[in-house]
């Protein structure tokens, strides 16, 4: 009886703590992605060139306190220290970029110098340009590239127009783009039917939020 009581009390408390705390942070940064897959003349993939545009709130926050000659505008030089901080700290997050060649994970090197930030004063948004070289260039029949933050603190999505380009790819390569699914009313309904700890395998929400590029070079 005492045992049962112990278990009841412990379970009740544990349940309470989990229920109250097991929620995730929502995104605080929104990034619009434009990417280029770069190919060498021999048909191997050598790297990914990213252009990430941040939302206006984060852009304004990030540029707060940065000295500029012209108020409300920033040159690439003025933003250089910020670009360096961004690229350095992105390393900790694997640059949010995950690639597979023929089903096998491929590794990226750190971005070489030449990355920079641009500020668009009209929309007050920052865009970060950087290149991720592959550690070893690969020839891939099947290449997939995903851009996402698994903690979902940063919400990545592909640009509406021309989100991905193949640069120097063999002519027979075909590109397809998977966009994160909008949280539709139907999906929300489906989600609400699930218990908080339940994950429906047919409803792979994480994958649907991910931005996936697939290149087939048969």
């Amino acid at each position: 009886m005492i045992h049962r009581f112990f278990f009841c009390a412990a379970a009740a408390f544990a349940g309470l703590v989990i229920a109250t705390a097991a929620a995730q942070a929502h995104p605080h940064i929104w990034v619009t992605v434009k990417s280029e897959l770069v190919y060498a003349p021999d048909g191997t993939v050598t790297g990914v060139r990213h252009a990430w545009t941040f939302d206006d709130m984060f852009s304004v926050f990030a540029t707060q306190g940065i000295e500029s000659k012209k108020k409300g505008e920033f040159t690439r030089e003025e933003l250089a220290p910020l670009a360096e901080v961004n690229v350095t700290s992105l390393k900790e997050y694997d640059f949010f970029t995950y690639a597979k060649a023929n089903g096998k994970k491929i590794e990226f090197d750190e971005p070489p110098a030449g990355y920079y930030l641009d500020f668009n004063p009209k929309d007050t948004v920052l865009t970060l340009y950087f290149t991720l070289p592959l550690k070893t260039p690969v020839k891939a029949k099947d290449l997939t590239l995903e851009v996402y933050d698994r903690e979902f603190f940063v919400d990545f999505s592909f640009a509406e127009k021309d989100p991905v380009k193949l640069v120097g790819a063999p002519a027979h390569c075909k590109l397809s783009i998977g966009r994160p699914q909008e949280m539709s009313a139907a999906l929300t309904q489906q989600l609400s039917q699930l218990a908080a700890d339940q994950r429906d395998p047919s409803l792979t929400i994480g994958a649907e939020y991910a931005n996936k590029i697939a290149v087939k070079c048969p």
């Binding site: 005492i2 045992h3 009581f5 112990f6 009841c8 009390a9 412990a10 009740a12 408390f13 544990a14 309470l16 703590v17 989990i18 109250t20 705390a21 097991a22 929620a23 995730q24 942070a25 929502h26 995104p27 605080h28 940064i29 939302d55 206006d56 709130m57 984060f58 304004v60 926050f61 990030a62 540029t63 707060q64 306190g65 940065i66 901080v85 700290s89 992105l90 995950y98 994970k105 007050t124 996402y148 698994r150 903690e151 979902f152 603190f153 919400d155 929300t188 989600l191 609400s192 699930l194 218990a195 908080a196 339940q198 994950r199 429906d200 792979t204 929400i205 994480g206 994958a207 939020y209």
Partner: protein, 385 residues
């Protein structure tokens, strides 16, 4: 001799149970860590699969708050041109606060554990929730007001300031947990000791009708008034209990003091200076860390030349947050009362179980503080990729 062995064995069983409860709670904390930290960015193992936003009600909350959050920038811009948009901004801030508090951070777990460990009343739970949420808003305004508005510091500088605040806050959480563990752990062991004393076992284990509780109350508060408040109330309780365990001149007194402990604190206890001081440490520990959302909104408002709108929004957000935290705190108070109800039916051993739960809650607080401090658990990543 054989009696001693039996007592020893029982004690071992109880200690084993206590360890099991603590382990269970730690495990729960671990699960929860996995649920929202997903390994964390600080070198902890990261799984390959993307973390799906939690489904169900939480998934909905999650979508909602992101939706609300995205409207801040456009509403702040609108407020610049048209003052009436400020009202929409405040409405949005309130809703965002309510939903956002369901996410990590904002001290729900710490406050709930604290309430359970410390046997706080509902009123105190609500006051703790509101005070910590408003302190959080105040700190956000102070950080942005001082750093950005006055000193024109960069985002990186603000990030570092928040980092220092975080370390202080998490350390304080650990200190509170350790203090509670010390007090509650000793109370638990003292009670265990009492229950296993042959003379005391008879008194404490025999179920007694509830009218003894009244006696307990009177006796208890009496002893309390005579106590030095600077020691803190738990200390007071403890010495009181221990004194009885050692002398137990009177079987009725023994029982009364045990019941007296288990009941909600008397009003005079709450009003006492030590009582509020005790709560203050929890408020500061939890409320010190500003929420990154509020900091972003404030900086954005400042850039639009509408700092006041950002400040108003932050405080309204704090009220929304407080409401959610208060609801969760109320659940904690209710859960504890329910457990107490079960414990009351089981006399001395029920009391022991309650003490055990309190010890467990103190351990959870320490675990939370430690995980947050070591960066293994991210309460809410500070903006700055």
């Amino acid at each position: 001799m054989s009696v001693n062995i039996a007592v020893e064995r029982r004690r071992v069983v109880h200690i084993a149970l206590l360890v099991a409860v603590i382990a269970g709670l730690l495990f729960a904390t671990g699960l929860l860590d996995g649920a929202f930290a997903q390994g964390g960015p600080f070198g902890a193992p990261r799984t390959q699969a993307p973390a799906p936003p939690v489904g169900g009600v939480l998934g909905w909350i999650f979508t909602k708050q992101a939706e609300f959050y995205r409207q801040f920038s456009s509403l702040l811009r609108a407020a610049k041109a048209d003052g009436s948009a400020a009202w929409s901004l405040l409405g949005l801030s309130f809703l965002y606060g309510i939903f956002h508090a369901a996410g990590p951070g904002h001290g729900k777990a710490v406050i709930s554990s604290y309430i359970i460990a410390n046997n706080e009343t509902w009123t105190r739970g609500v006051v703790l929730s509101f005070a910590s949420a408003l302190l959080q808003a105040l700190v956000a305004v102070a950080v942005v007001g001082l750093a950005a508005a006055l000193l024109n510091a960069t985002a990186a500088t603000m990030g570092r300031a928040v980092n220092v605040i975080e370390i202080v806050s998490y350390s304080l959480i650990i200190v509170i947990g350790v203090r509670l563990l010390w007090v509650k752990g000793r109370a638990f062991l003292a009670l265990l000791h009492t229950l296993h004393r042959p003379a005391a076992v008879g008194a404490a284990v025999t179920p007694r009708p509830h009218d003894h509780a009244h006696h307990g109350h009177a006796h208890h508060s009496h002893a309390h008034n005579g106590h030095d408040h600077s020691h803190g109330h738990d200390y007071g309780h403890h010495h009181h209990g221990e004194g009885h365990a050692h002398h137990h001149h009177h079987a009725d007194d023994e029982d009364a003091s045990a019941w007296g402990h288990a009941h909600a604190p008397e009003p005079e206890e709450l009003a006492g200076p030590g009582g509020w001081k005790r709560g203050l440490s929890a408020i500061v520990a939890v409320g010190l860390r500003p929420c990154s959302g509020a900091i972003l909104v404030l900086v954005f408002a400042l850039a639009q030349g509408l700092f006041w709108a950002g400040v108003a929004s932050t405080f309204v957000m704090g009220i929304g947050t407080a409401i959610t935290v208060a609801v969760i705190a109320s659940i904690a108070v209710g859960a504890r009362a329910w457990a107490q109800h079960l414990a009351d039916a089981r006399s001395g051993y029920g009391m022991l179980a309650m003490r055990g739960v309190e010890v467990g809650a103190a351990v959870v607080i320490i675990a939370f503080g430690a995980l947050l401090l070591t960066g293994y658990m991210v309460s809410e990543r500070m903006v700055g990729i």
